[in-house]
Symmetry: C2
Subunit: 168 residues, 2 copies
DNA sequence: GCTGAAAAGCATCGCCT
DNA sequence: AGGCGATGCTTTTCAGC
């Protein structure tokens, strides 16, 4: 691995300069900051700052803006994970399972792991009864061979985004 | 379990009416919507809508606003999970491990599971070399007995928030 | 690509219902 | 509680550097 391959941006990465990175870090931290304040923080005047933000949105670097809601306030006291093994690794079975659980609002994430047949899901539930019902629905699904639930006891860190390298 | 206990809000839930739920759903979907547009969508004029948003922020129902960034555009091509078992369930060991990994920017989530000694981590890495280095750092940490990595092959669903029950 | 000014739109306040 | 009207900012565009 030579110096160039270590530094080369991963092919679809659109040249982000230090100001772009600062903008991204600020918007990840506070998505409702005004453009004037954002411009002040990155050392630009408002118009070029807004152009950069628009460009980052159009390029897909910024995928959207979301309010972070308190799950407990909405009645979801429990977050848990489920390791699900399917009975088959046939693509049609994998896809059917993904389509099934993607339609459940309580399933927030569904990742295939280890190359097929196994999935890691993140789910929310109102209470333990709801959690048990969701686990039972998973276990009873046609494609499912086994389910192992990983209940979250406490959470030391839960950051949604990605680390943004800020200069300085 | 009677009808009241099923419907009772979980003690710290601050009475959210249908308009509040609509506001939360809209702001989770688009955190940069203007208050005027938000008010139009929920059928209110701007001032009472803004008062509700401020109240939801002050009550902590809305915890913040964040830009959703494309991890790959920032150079993080890989998301993976790690199941980490510690050598001890002593609280001091658990806390030390949590403090250690919380300080790593690549560790985005750290959840204790099954009541102690086991953790589920979500991490991001630039490439497989970076992933291997992170796994090695985990394995080599003083408190760690075993590490099982769960590499994400593909992701069928990845929604950050919680389901908001929208009336109608 | 940045600055500065100007027009349009928005947030926000006080008061009324 | 929600609505109306007024004020000050913010956003956004456009000329000019």
């Amino acid at each position: 691995m030579n110096r160039d391959s270590m530094r080369a941006p991963p092919r679809d990465e659109p040249e982000l300069d230090d100001v772009d990175l600062q903008i991204l870090a600020e918007l990840q931290r506070d998505g409702r900051i005004t453009n004037v304040e954002l411009a002040r923080r990155v050392g630009l005047s408002a118009p070029p700052c807004l152009r950069r933000v628009r460009r980052l949105e159009e390029e897909g670097v910024i995928r959207g803006y979301h309010a972070e809601l308190d799950a407990a306030a909405l009645g979801y006291e429990i977050t848990f994970f489920a390791l699900v093994g399917l009975e088959s690794q046939k693509e049609s079975v994998l896809t059917a399972f993904e389509a099934l659980v993607a339609a459940w609002p309580e399933v927030r994430e569904c990742h295939m792991i280890r190359g097929g047949g196994d999935f890691l899901l993140r789910l929310v539930a109102r209470d333990t009864a709801h959690e048990n019902a969701l686990t039972a629905r998973l276990t009873g699904a046609a494609q499912v061979a086994r389910v192992q639930t990983l209940q979250t006891i406490r959470t030391a860190k839960d950051e949604a985004g990605v680390p943004v390298p800020v200069p300085g």
